[in-house]
C-alpha cells in the first residue's frame, strides 16, 4: 500500500488542462527544415563527432531513403512530411557547455522546476543523478563525480562520443542496427543527443540514473539515442520520464534505446511517458515511434523493461529482449493508457536464443474515451533454445463504450522443450463500482483512478518508489474527463 498516493491523485484531478503545457522561450540554434546528406553532415559537424560516427549516420541515411514507414500497426494518422521537420536544434550557450548548474540558463532551470525536477534538491535529497535533456542537448549532469569514483560513466551521448569514442564505437548499433526499421534508421541518421551509460565489471550502481526528456522548440523532431552497457556482474537501474509542452502541430519522436547486459549483469529500465496526447478532439499530440531493445548477451544476465505510457497521440513501441546468453532473463511490465483519441500499439518481443532462458510479460491496457489500445507481443523460441520458458499476461480494461482494446500475441516456438503460457482478460469498470465508491465519499474520477491503479498494481510494483507515485498521478491526470 502506498499510503499517500490517493490524496495525491485527488489533488491531481483538479487540474483540468494538460498540466505541463507551457513553452519555454529560448533562442533555438536550429538548422532549416528538411533532410538530406548535408543536414546529416551539419549535425555531425556541430557536435564535432569522430569520423566513424558520421559514416555510420550516412549509411543509416542512405538506408532510410530505401525504406518505407511500417504500416502494420493498428494506428491511423496523416502522412508525415519528413521534409518539414527540423532535425537539429540546441539551446544556445555562451560557452561550449555548462560545467555546473550555475552555468545553466535560468529559464531552463525554471522549466525544470515547473516540471517538478528541482535539480539542486534532487542532488541533495533524492539521490538521483539527472541527465536532463532539453530539446536535443544535455545541459546539466549531476552526480558525475560520485559515479566517476566507481568507474560508472553516465553522460550525454555527445560527451560519450568525445570522451569514450571507443566504447561507443564498440557497442553502438549492436542491438538496434542502423538498418533495423524505418524510424530507427531515421534516428541513426539524425539523432541529436541522448544518454550513455557504462557500468564496469562487478559494480552495482548505487543510485537510480534518471533522464528527463522534453520536447520544446516548435516543429522539432526529437531523436534521442540511449546506449547502456552493463559489464560483467554489474547492475544498473535507469529511469526515463517525459513531459512535453502543449503544441498544435504533431511532433514526431523517434527514439532508440539499446541495452547490453554481459555475463551476470542486470539492467532495469523504467519509463514513465507523458507526452502531450493531443486535445480532446484528437488535435495535436506527439507521435511516439520508438525502438527499444535489450540484448542479454551474457550468461545469467537480466534485462527488465517497465513502462507506463499515458501520453502521446500515437504510441508505437515494443521494448524487447534478445535472450542470447544461457539462463538469461527478460521481463516486460507495461501499463498503456489511451483516452480521448489516443492510439497505442505497444507490446514486446522476447527472442529466446540461449538455453534455459526465461521471459515474463505483464501488459495492462486501459482504454477510455475513444482511445484504441493494442497489445502486440511476440515470443519467439529458436530451434536451439532448450528449456525456454515464457509467461505472458495481457489484461485490458475498458472505460466507457466508445473505446477499443485489441490483443495480438504472436507465438513462434521452434523447440519442443519450451513452455509458453499466455493469459488474457478483459474487464470493464462498472457503474455499480463507481457508485459504491461515490457512496463512500470518493468522486467518480477518483473512483476510476483508484480502480485503474488497482488494475495496474502488478506493474507499478516493478517501478522504483518515486516513479510509482508519479505513475499513479499520471494515470489520474490522464483519465480526466473519461467519466460520463
Amino acid at each position: 500500500m502506498k499510503p499517500d498516493s490517493t490524496s495525491d491523485t485527488v489533488k491531481q484531478f483538479t487540474q483540468q488542462e494538460y498540466k505541463w503545457g507551457f513553452v519555454t522561450d529560448i533562442e533555438a540554434d536550429a538548422v532549416p527544415p528538411g533532410l538530406n546528406e548535408d543536414v546529416v553532415r551539419v549535425i555531425s559537424a556541430k557536435k564535432n563527432e569522430p569520423e566513424f560516427m558520421l559514416e555510420w549516420r550516412l549509411k543509416a541515411y542512405r538506408q532510410w531513403l530505401k525504406m518505407r514507414e511500417p504500416r502494420w500497426a493498428k494506428v491511423e494518422f496523416e502522412p508525415i512530411d519528413y521534409q518539414s521537420i527540423v532535425y537539429y536544434s540546441a539551446p544556445k550557450t555562451d560557452k561550449d557547455g555548462p560545467k555546473s548548474l550555475d552555468e545553466v540558463d535560468p529559464e531552463l532551470l525554471r522549466t525544470y522546476e515547473k516540471l517538478g525536477i528541482p535539480l539542486r534538491e534532487q542532488e541533495l535529497l533524492a539521490g538521483v543523478a539527472v541527465d536532463a535533456v532539453f530539446d536535443s542537448v544535455s545541459v546539466a549532469t549531476t552526480y558525475r563525480e560520485k559515479l566517476g569514483e566507481l568507474g560508472i560513466i553516465f553522460c550525454s551521448f555527445s560527451e560519450a562520443l568525445q570522451e569514450h569514442p571507443e566504447l561507443v564505437k564498440k557497442w553502438l548499433g549492436t542491438v538496434v542496427p542502423y538498418s533495423d526499421n524505418f524510424y530507427a534508421s531515421l534516428n541513426a541518421a539524425v539523432f541529436s543527443d541522448g544518454s550513455f551509460v557504462y557500468v564496469p565489471k562487478g559494480v552495482r550502481c548505487p543510485m537510480e540514473l534518471s533522464t528527463y526528456f522534453r520536447i520544446n522548440a516548435a516543429n522539432t523532431g526529437q531523436f534521442e539515442r540511449t546506449l547502456i552497457v552493463a559489464d560483467e556482474g554489474s547492475y544498473v537501474s535507469y529511469l526515463e520520464g517525459c513531459t512535453a509542452p502543449m503544441r498544435d502541430e504533431n511532433q514526431l519522436h523517434a527514439a532508440v534505446v539499446e541495452l547490453i547486459a554481459l555475463d551476470d549483469a542486470e539492467i532495469k529500465y523504467s519509463t514513465v511517458q507523458n507526452w502531450y496526447p493531443g486535445d480532446k478532439n484528437g488535435k495535436g499530440g506527439i507521435y511516439n515511434f520508438v525502438t527499444k531493445r535489450g540484448k542479454c548477451q551474457g550468461r545469467n544476465s537480466k534485462i527488465s523493461w517497465t513502462q507506463v505510457e499515458t501520453g502521446s497521440a500515437i504510441t508505437w513501441k515494443y521494448p524487447g529482449c534478445i535472450l542470447l546468453g544461457d539462463n538469461s532473463v527478460g521481463e516486460f511490465y507495461s501499463v498503456a493508457l489511451t483516452n480521448n483519441h489516443q492510439q497505442a500499439d505497444t507490446g514486446t518481443k522476447m527472442i529466446h536464443v540461449g538455453n534455459n532462458t526465461r521471459s515474463t510479460i505483464v501488459s495492462k491496457g486501459i482504454s477510455a474515451g475513444q482511445g484504441q489500445n493494442t497489445y502486440r507481443g511476440q515470443v519467439k523460441v529458436l530451434k536451439n533454445a532448450h528449456n525456454a520458458r515464457n509467461y505472458s499476461q495481457c489484461d485490458s480494461m475498458l472505460i466507457g463504450d466508445k473505446c477499443g482494446a485489441h490483443t495480438f500475441p504472436y507465438l513462434d516456438v521452434s523447440n519442443t522443450s519450451a513452455t509458453v503460457e499466455h493469459e488474457a482478460t478483459t474487464s470493464k469498470i462498472g457503474e455499480d463500482q463507481i457508485f459504491y465508491c461515490q457512496q463512500r465519499g470518493l468522486s467518480a474520477e477518483d473512483a476510476i483512478s483508484m480502480i485503474v491503479n488497482g488494475f495496474c498494481k502488478e506493474v507499478f510494483r516493478e517501478l522504483p518508489m518515486e516513479f510509482a507515485v508519479e505513475a499513479q498521478k499520471l494515470l489520474g491526470v490522464s483519465l480526466e474527463g473519461s467519466v460520463g
Binding site: 500500500m1 499510503p3 499517500d4 490517493t6 490524496s7 485527488v10 474487464s427 462498472g430 457503474e431 455499480d432 463500482q433 457508485f435 459504491y436 465508491c437 461515490q438 457512496q439 463512500r440 465519499g441 470518493l442 468522486s443 467518480a444 477518483d446 483508484m450 480502480i451 491503479n453 488497482g454 488494475f455 495496474c456 498494481k457
Partner: protein, 253 residues
C-alpha cells in the same frame, strides 16, 4: 435530521415511489418494512443518489439542506451512509486502501486533517472489534471473494470507520445466517448514539429482534401505508403483508 416530503421516483420510466413522507430525528432508529417490490431499496437508492432512479417529485431535507441537490459523494461526505444490499467487488484495490481514501474524503470535507497511514491504522484497530472483522479481509481486495456474511460485516465496519450521521441499512440481513446476523446487529447497536440516526430497510422482522427500532413504517406499492412502534413489526411477523396490501387495495379502489 431527515425530512422526506411527498417523494416520488421512478426507474426506467416506471413509477416506484408514489409519495413518501417520513421524518427521522437525531438518534432515532426507524425501520422500513414491506413486501418485495414495494420500493424499499429504491428509497434507499434515491437517498444515496443512485442515478438509475429518477426523482419525479417531492423533496428531501437532510440537516437543513436539499439532499437531492447533492452529488452522491457529497451526500456521503455529509454523513449519509448506505450499507449496500449487494456490496460491490473492486478487484485490485485493497480494502484498507479503499477505506483510508473514504475516511480521508469525509475528513477533508469536514475540514479536518487527513489521516496518515499510522493514524489510520490506529483507527482501524479501534474499530475492528465492532464487527469482529477478520484482519485478513482488510488486506484483500474490496469485497473480492468475500462470503455474503463477510461482505455485510465489511459494510458495518466501514460504517464504524466513517461514523455517519445517518446510516441507511439496505436489507443488511439478507443472506446472513443467524450468527452473522447477531454480529452485524451487535455492530449496529454499538454504533447507536444520540447523534446518529439509522434507517433499517428490511423484508423480515427477525433483524428487528436485534436492532430494536423506535419506529416502524410499512411500505406497500410505493407508499408508507402504516407507521407505528416496534409492535407493528411483530404484528407483521405474525400476519404477513397480505392484510395491509388488501387494505391498501380497498382504499385505492
Amino acid at each position: 435530521m431527515l425530512e422526506i416530503r411527498d417523494l416520488c421516483a421512478s426507474a426506467e420510466g416506471k413509477p416506484i415511489l408514489k409519495g413518501i413522507d417520513l421524518s427521522i430525528d437525531k438518534g432515532e432508529v426507524h425501520a422500513i418494512m414491506g413486501p418485495n417490490g414495494s420500493g424499499k431499496s429504491t428509497l434507499a437508492g434515491v437517498l444515496a443518489g443512485r442515478e438509475t432512479f429518477e426523482v419525479t417529485g417531492g423533496r428531501v431535507i437532510y440537516q437543513g439542506t436539499d439532499l437531492l441537490e447533492l452529488s452522491p459523494e457529497d451526500r456521503a461526505r455529509a454523513g449519509l451512509f448506505l450499507a449496500f444490499q449487494y456490496p460491490v467487488e473492486i478487484p485490485g484495490v485493497s480494502n484498507l486502501y479503499f477505506l483510508k481514501a473514504a475516511v480521508n474524503a469525509v475528513r477533508k470535507h469536514r475540514g479536518e486533517d487527513e489521516l496518515d497511514a499510522m493514524d489510520f491504522m490506529e483507527l482501524v484497530r479501534k474499530k475492528t472489534g465492532v464487527v469482529k472483522i477478520d484482519e485478513s479481509l482488510l488486506h484483500r481486495s474490496v469485497n473480492e471473494g468475500f462470503s455474503g456474511g463477510e461482505k455485510k460485516r465489511n459494510e458495518i465496519f466501514q460504517m464504524a470507520l466513517l461514523e455517519p450521521a445517518l446510516a441507511v441499512l439496505d436489507e443488511t440481513d439478507s443472506g446472513l445466517d443467524i450468527d452473522a446476523l447477531k454480529i452485524v446487529a451487535d455492530g449496529v447497536n454499538t454504533l447507536r448514539s444520540p447523534e446518529r440516526s439509522v434507517l433499517v430497510v428490511t423484508h423480515y422482522q427477525r433483524l428487528l429482534n436485534y436492532i430494536i427500532p423506535d419506529f416502524v413504517h410499512v411500505l406497500v406499492g410505493g407508499r408508507i401505508v402504516r407507521s407505528g412502534g416496534r409492535e407493528l413489526a411483530l404484528e407483521l411477523e405474525e400476519k404477513g403483508y397480505g392484510w395491509l396490501e388488501a387494505e391498501v387495495g380497498a382504499t385505492n379502489g
